[in-house]
């Protein structure tokens, strides 16, 4: 499995296997830390397939019983697929935010954007610094 990169807003992005050579495909989601902070997730709204998002845009909305938060896309690109499973069963984001609970995939507009994001070790120490 490819290594994921992280943002300070607790989103992850990783490249899809074999997608590197032509158009790199990125998959995005939220981290375990984020799902724990939110509590039981009851609703998620994902972007429409086909739209183009810029890094940092509010691309999705996540709601728990008592809070609503925005999902800022960690990279720019065109949305090519969304995870309908989490729309039907948002609890999957809580139980498996890294795999089953992914949000959407997109065709990266600029793969170099990944370089500015944190790697796993940097993110882990960032999370530690928060508590």
């Amino acid at each position: 499995m490819r290594k994921a990169k992280y943002t300070k807003d607790h989103e992850w992005v990783r490249l899809e296997e074999g997608g590197e050579k032509t158009n790199a495909i990125g998959i995005v989601g939220i981290t375990d830390f984020a799902q724990e902070q939110l509590g039981d997730i009851v609703f998620v709204e994902l972007p429409e397939v086909g739209i183009t998002v810029q890094k940092g845009d509010e691309a999705a909305t996540i709601e728990s019983v008592k809070a609503a938060s925005e999902f800022f896309t960690p990279v720019s690109g065109k949305v090519i697929n969304i995870n309908n499973t989490i729309i039907d069963d948002p609890g999957l984001i809580n139980s498996d935010p890294r795999e089953v609970g992914w949000f959407f995939s997109l065709e990266l507009a600029d793969p170099s954007e990944l370089e500015s994001l944190m790697d796993e070790a940097a993110y882990e120490s960032f999370v530690t610094s928060l508590s």
Partner: protein
């Protein structure tokens, strides 16, 4: 003072415990200039007897609609409210509780709200309803704002049959939004006014919603099924507004005509006239628009023991969670009026409500039949429920005023609501309900004849 329990001695004890000698020490953050400028020139406290006497004397200056034959409608209707309704809503557990934020000790209110939502959904023929809005007019404005959010379009078409004050409220509350409001010209009922072709022609790709009233302000009943289809084709929402919920028992439901949002005034059931407030706004829509719905909603769930119970749910739509991104700023709604509506409707039941609707329609037909014999008076409606428009041979305003001096509340002079429409000068809106007796009708007809002769 009867509402304040502390004695002087207790206040002293409490201050000693806090460690102050003078109560003003607790107000020391307030600028001295402001504190000292308060000159208390208000009268001092009064006992129940004095208060009652004073307020009774003010009440006596009004002519209660219950003390006169009344044919006033136009968005507020007088019905008989069973004694049980007021008795039950005055139970302290309903009257003096707050918004049910702690569900374990608010199951009474929450279950009642859940039942209210079900009743409103059934009556309107929609999938769901919220826990109430302030009144029909603000519910209407909220529906328009919601249509803007759902369709992400900007053009709003208001039918000429929409209550003029509802039009004003929509225009006022949407004036700083991105929506642009197009109003159709109101027309008095006439032959051939039943179709909606003119409205349909105005729908285009920019249209967020079309707002129509059922029956309309002039009492006319129109079928909006075709309009609903046109809206659907164009991706616009159809909003159906009603003023008189009793009418929905006699008529095909708005949901069946393809409405996307149905809003209305619930005052007719359980809530008195109260000079215009408090009333209760009803708001119903389709499940697909749930996330854009304003206001509180109660939902069913289970407790730790697996017992069925209710909570306020989907709170992330609301201001206390979503703040500037909320679907509305509404917080306090019309809870107790909604309860009164619900109790009245429960007492009526399917059979009672249907019967009440028929009585209302028959009272209106009897009134119309009697009035149409008056020389020079013309009934303009081909269709109506419990309210219709008449054209008098002279201005309605002065006539209504003259009859009021004889303690007859004759009807609404339509020009009062359309000051710029000289052509409406002779029009009067006449309403009859189950409270309208044959002698009321005779008195009205004779008095009008007298004034016209």
């Amino acid at each position: 003072m009867r509402y304040l329990p502390h004695t002087k001695r207790e206040r002293e004890l409490m201050m000693a415990k806090i460690g102050i000698e003078n109560i003003n020490e607790l107000f020391d953050q307030i600028p001295e200039t402001a504190l000292s400028s308060f000159a208390n020139t208000l009268p001092s406290h009064s006992g129940e007897l004095e208060v009652t006497h004073h307020l009774q004397s003010l009440a006596n200056l009004n002519l209660a609609a219950s003390d006169a034959p009344s044919f006033l409608g136009g968005g507020a209707y007088r019905h008989h409210i069973p004694a049980t309704v007021d008795s039950l809503i005055q139970r302290g557990e309903f009257l003096t509780s707050y918004t049910p934020y702690q569900p374990e000790i608010s199951q009474g209110t929450l279950q009642a709200v859940f039942e209210f939502q079900t009743q409103v959904a059934l009556l309107t023929g929609m999938e769901l309803a919220n826990a109430s809005m302030y009144d029909g007019s603000t519910a209407c404005a909220e529906a328009v704002l919601m249509a803007g959010r759902v369709t992400k379009r900007k053009k709003v078409i208001l039918s000429g049959g929409l209550h003029p004050f509802y039009c004003d409220v929509v225009e006022t509350l949407a004036q700083f939004s991105e929506l642009s409001i197009e109003k159709s010209r109101p027309e008095a009922p006439a032959k051939g006014h039943h179709d909606t072709a003119a409205l349909e022609k105005r729908i285009n790709k920019e249209t967020a919603c079309v707002v129509v009233q059922y029956p309309d302000f002039f009492g006319l009943i129109r079928d909006f099924s075709q309009l609903g289809e046109q809206c659907k084709k164009a991706g616009a929402l159809l909003i159906i507004v009603f003023n008189e919920p009793v009418a929905l028992a006699a008529l095909k439901s708005p949901g069946e005509m393809g409405a996307d949002i149905v809003v209305g005034e619930g005052q007719s059931l359980g809530v008195g006239l109260n000079f215009g407030g408090p009333y209760v706004g009803l708001f119903a829509t389709k499940s697909q628009y749930l996330r854009q719905t304003p206001g509180r909603i109660a939902g069913q769930t289970e407790d730790l023991d697996g017992k069925r119970g209710w909570v306020l749910t989907l709170n992330t739509r609301e201001q206390h969670i979503r703040r500037e991104k909320a679907t509305s700023n509404i917080c306090t709604n019309s809870g107790l009026c909604a309860l009164a509506f619900s109790i009245h409707l429960s007492l009526l039941g399917e059979k009672g409500l249907s019967h009440l609707a028929t009585l209302n329609h028959e009272a209106a037909m009897s009134t119309a039949d009697r009035l149409c014999n008056i020389d020079g008076l013309e009934i303009l409606n081909e269709t109506y429920f419990n309210e219709f428009t008449v054209r008098l041979p002279k201005p309605a305003g002065p006539l209504v005023e003259t009859l009021a001096q004889k303690k007859i509340l004759a009807g609404v002079p339509i020009r009062r609501l359309y000051p710029n429409r000289e052509d409406f000068d002779n029009l009067m809106l006449v309403n009859a309900t189950e409270l309208t007796s044959d002698s009321d009708i005779n008195l009205l007809a004779e008095s009008i004849s007298e004034e016209l002769s």
